[in-house]
Structures are given as C-alpha cells and as structure tokens.
C-alpha cells in the first residue's frame, strides 16, 4: 500500500448538491436497469392481462364508457395505475433497502442536505414510473387506439402523479421498520384506492353518496386528469385536479424533508 497524495478539493456547496443529486439519480437508474426483470417487466405483463380480460373479453359486453370504446377508456387508467405503483414501489423498496442494509449511512454522513436526498430518491421513482408508464402505453397501443386531446395535460399529470407517489413511498420507507410495514400501505391502502379511483369505470355510474366518497380519493383526480389528456373527457374538475397534485407534491416533499432532517427512522 503506497502513500496517497492528498489533493485538497473543496467544491462549492451548490456544486456538491448538484453532483450529489446526479449521483443519487444515476445510482437509482442503475438499480432500475440492473433488476429490470423486477422493475420494468411485471407491469407490462399485468397491463396485457387487464387488456385481454377486462378489455377484450368483458369489455365487449360492457359497451362504451363516457362515449369511448371500453378499451380506450381503461387504457389511461391502466397506464396511470402502473405509474402510481411503480413510483411508490421504487422509492419505498430502494430507501427501505438502504436502511435495512445500512448503506443509507453513506448519504447521511455526506454533506448533502436532506432536501437533496429526498429529491434524488424522488427522481428515481419518477424515472421508474415514467419508464414503466411508457412500456404500458406501448402495450396499450396493441389493444386500443389512443387519441391525444391535450398533450401537456398527459405529461403534467404523469409527472405530478409520479412525484406524489414517489414522495409517499419515501415517507413509507422512513417509518417502516420491517418488510411487513413496507408492504402494508401498498397492499391495504394504495391498491384499494387505485381500484376505486376510476380506472375501470366512470364515477358517473355510481350512486351519489358513492360519487361523493370517491371525490375524496386523490387517485380519482389523477386518473381523470390523465384521461382528460388522452380522451378530452373527465369526471372531475381538471384544473382542481392539477391543483390537488401540486398541493400534495409540496406537502409531501416538505414532510419527507422534515422527517429525514429530524432523523426519524434513520438516526438514534
């Protein structure tokens, strides 16, 4: 072992933050690509099954929904469902895995502020959510013709929804102390909210009390804002839906940063 030569390098704080953020994103992206069989493929398989069973077999008997072919109606919802579950799942498993394997300490001892760490993991969730969303969109095109009514609404809804659920996954991972706790929210909260979030049906079909209850579900607003981008139709007020997504993004980001700064779940 030879003697090292010390070259004192003190990058500026802004530069450290930017490079640190890029490094977290690269690490997350590498993880997504390295285990592509677990991260990118399952949603494509699930979406195909939904299209075959709900779209082709059952959908023919259901008939048009909100004036569109049933396969066209469910396609935006299925894409959004995959974005939600993958954004959430990526961050919760990656950050909890880092806690479990203790390598989260690599970041905690570094000079990166907690906001950058949260932003980096969120970007990782965003990348996976959008990659899977793109794959499921390609699958959808085999089964349904997808018009584009409002392109920017599609992009904005996908970005904001993915960000919201990446942040939610981060908060879940902060609190989780076991793999059971990591899976509790996705199984018992996220999945029911997604299925009741207007992916497979229009809430206009529901009785009034059920419609009112559905409007409390944020996923309903996200799915409809996304569907509005493709089909130009929505069960909810689209501007309010985007406002809700922005509000959730800010609130969840602030919460995640606050939790990590206090050391909840990661520091003694």
């Amino acid at each position: 072992m030879d003697s090292p030569t010390r070259v004192p390098v003190q990058p500026s704080l802004a530069r450290t933050r930017w490079i640190g953020f890029k490094t977290i994103v690269i690490r997350e992206y590498s993880r997504i690509v390295r285990i592509w069989g677990q991260t990118l493929v399952p949603s494509a398989v699930t979406a195909t099954l939904y299209f075959v069973i709900f779209g082709n077999l059952i959908g023919r008997r259901v008939g048009p929904m909100s004036g569109f072919d049933y396969r066209q109606f469910i396609a935006p919802g299925l894409i959004m469902m995959s974005i939600i579950t993958n954004s959430y799942g990526n961050v919760v498993s990656s950050f909890f895995g880092a806690k479990f394997g203790k390598h989260v300490e690599e970041l905690l001892v570094s000079p990166l502020p907690t906001s950058i760490i949260v932003a980096g993991y969120t970007a990782g969730g965003l990348i996976r959510g959008l990659l899977v969303g793109a794959v499921v969109t390609l699958v959808s095109l085999f089964f349904a013709r997808l018009p584009v009514a409002h392109f920017f609404a599609i992009i904005a809804a996908a970005l904001l929804t993915s960000t919201v659920f990446s942040l939610a996954g981060f908060i879940n991972a902060v609190f989780a102390r076991s793999f059971d706790q990591m899976n509790f929210i996705p199984v018992f909260v996220l999945t029911p909210l997604t299925y009741f979030g207007g992916v497979f049906y229009s809430v206009a079909m529901l009785p009034e009390w059920a419609q009112r209850l559905s409007f409390v579900n944020p996923i309903l607003h996200m799915v409809n804002a996304f569907r509005y981008g493709f089909l130009g139709t929505s069960d909810v007020h689209v501007v309010a839906a985007f406002g809700l997504m922005l509000l959730l993004t800010v609130a969840l980001f602030a919460t995640a940063v606050q939790l990590l700064s206090r050391g909840v779940g990661v520091r003694d």
């Binding site: 090292p4 004192p8 203790k102 300490e105 970041l107 570094s110 520091r267």
Partner: protein
C-alpha cells in the same frame, strides 16, 4: 487548529441510557489520536454525533471550526468515516461504491474514477473492482470502507475499529497505510480494541468510560506512568522452584517458565545478573501483556482515579484483561 472540538457534549437515548456525559475533547489538526474505551463506553456515539448519524442531546461540537449545528454541510465535508459495521450495498461493486461515494461529496465522476483507481490499487482491491462486494473477504470489505472514506480526501479520517477481524499481516499493512495518510496531513481518530494498534500508531490518547473522558494525554506520557511491568522468561533448564532473586518478584509458572516484576527504577541487567549468579539461563523473554492494555484496565476499573498508583502496584492484569476482552 483543532480538527475536532467538543464542549459539554451529551447524549441520552430514549431508553434513558446516558451514552455521553458532558464530554470535552480537543483533537489537534494532524494528530493520530486514539479514542479508547470498553464496549458501551460511548465511543461510537461520539463518532455518530460527529458524522450526524446520532442526534446529540446537548453541548457543542465543531470540525475544523465548523459548528455542526450551524455549518453541518461544511463540517461533514471535512470528515471521512470508516464505521464499525459494514454499511455499503453488498450488491454493488467496489468501483461503483467508491465512485458514488465521491459523488455524494461533490466529486465529478471522471475525477472520481481516477481517485477510485488510486485508492483501490493502494488498498489492493483493484483486481476485485468489478466484483460484487458481498463476495469480498472480511479484510477486503474493511479496506473497501477505508478506500470509500478517502475518496473525497477528507481532512479528518475517523476509523471505528477498522481492523476488527482482519488477520495480522493485513492489519500491519493497513497500519503502514494509515501512517502514510497521517504523514501527508490527514488527522486520524482511531478507536480500536487492539491496544497494541493504538500504542503503535497514535501520538495522543483519550480513554472514555461510562460516557465520560477519564484520561487525556500524550501516549508517551501515559506509558511512562506504568511503574511496573511483568516479563515472562523461558529458561533453558528445568526448575523445581522460583529462584530466590533478591530485589525482584520472581514466580515459577511451570518448570521452564518464570514471571518477573520489574519496577520503573529497576533495570533488566540487574535481573539477568542475579539469574546468572543463580545458574538460571534465559532463552527468551516477552512482556506479559501490552503496556497500554495494563494502564487502560487500571483506568477503566478505577474510573481514571489514581491511575499511576494503581498501575504501580504491578498486579497481574490477566483477570481484568479477560474481562475487557470478554
């Protein structure tokens, strides 16, 4: 300049355990400093506070003048830490681990790759750079954590038992490496259970016990306090009883082994003259236990009080040594 300075540093865990009780500690820039203490004494908590893995309850701490409450990012930029437990992603390769770590400190990837090659080669990990880290041997994993900690070329390197479980050959190679780093200006704080390691490497020492610093001195000053040392002598011929050596406490351990207590004011020549006069031929000789270990045990047992006088008793420390290692 002080590399590390704490005043009244306190940590009480939620379960009520007082891990640190108003610790005042200064470490000079450029020092090779030993922080010793038995298990649960508060060493890792102190390091944890420095590296922001543990929230302190009270007091202040600064790294190269950067207050960890007010300039945490600056303070953390100065530190490289090698923790006690493995804390890298076992599924990643050494190259990925060290390059990413550099990125967390603001080092561009191109520069990080250059440094990765340098440190992985110096720590004899270059051949394994693309293997999964989980496949490395225990010694390699320890060296990987040292390489990782050096990637941003920190001014202060904190090593929490870096050679635990490492074989003696690798350990000595790591000692040489650490001496070189220190010689090039990096301040090093070392905690270890191998007191021979601390004695060999460190210039200054603090002993912590039950959350408080009970001793802080130069290593040489501390070792001078040891008034009596016990030597083990192997003899050529078989002995039936301990030879009646005047002025030295000599005991028979077995028919070819003697133990002799040598006071600070005595010299070994006198002992050998006496043994020679009695017809006892000595083939070899060694210290019964490490000198620092003997002082350490007395300090820990007495809470730092009357260390010199206790050490002067020269009582065999084997029971205490067993307690420490146990």
């Amino acid at each position: 300049m002080l590399a590390l300075s704490t005043r009244g540093l306190t940590k009480t865990y939620k379960n009520g355990v007082h891990a640190l009780r108003s610790v005042d500690l200064d470490v000079e820039e450029g020092d090779f400093f030993a922080l010793l203490g038995p298990n649960g004494a508060g060493k890792t908590t102190l390091i944890g506070i420095m590296t922001s893995l543990v929230n302190k309850t009270g007091g202040t701490a600064s790294i190269f003048g950067f207050d960890i409450d007010k300039q945490l990012e600056r303070a953390k930029s100065c530190i490289g830490v090698v923790p006690q437990e493995l804390n890298f992603n076992q599924f990643e390769s050494p190259m990925t681990i060290v390059v990413n770590q550099a990125g967390f400190y603001g080092i561009e990837r191109a520069e990080a790759r250059v440094r990765a090659e340098r440190y992985l080669k110096q720590l004899q990990l270059w051949e394994k750079r693309n293997s999964a880290a989980r496949g490395l041997s225990g010694g390699m994993k320890r060296r990987l954590m040292i390489a990782r900690a050096l990637m941003h070329e920190p001014r202060l390197l904190i090593l929490d038992e870096p050679t635990a479980g490492v074989d003696i050959e690798i350990r000595r190679t790591m000692w040489d490496f650490l001496r070189d780093i220190n010689a090039h200006g990096t301040t090093i704080i070392l905690t270890t259970h191998y007191l021979e390691e601390a004695e060999s490497l460190c210039r200054n020492i603090a002993i912590i016990n039950k959350g408080g610093i009970i001793e802080r001195d130069r290593m040489s000053n501390l070792l001078r306090r040891l008034n009596t040392q016990t030597f083990v002598l192997n003899t050529r011929g078989a002995l039936q009883a301990a030879p009646p050596v005047v002025g030295f406490g000599v005991r028979l351990v077995d028919d070819h082994t003697l133990e002799a207590d040598i006071g600070k004011e005595q010299d070994l020549n006198g002992l050998f003259v006496e043994l020679s006069r009695l017809g006892v031929e000595v083939l070899s000789m060694r210290n019964k236990i490490n000198r620092l270990e003997e002082i350490f045990m007395h300090l820990v047992e007495t809470g730092g009080q009357a260390a010199a006088t206790q050490a002067a008793s020269g009582a065999p420390a084997s029971a205490a040594t067993r307690a420490f290692h146990g």
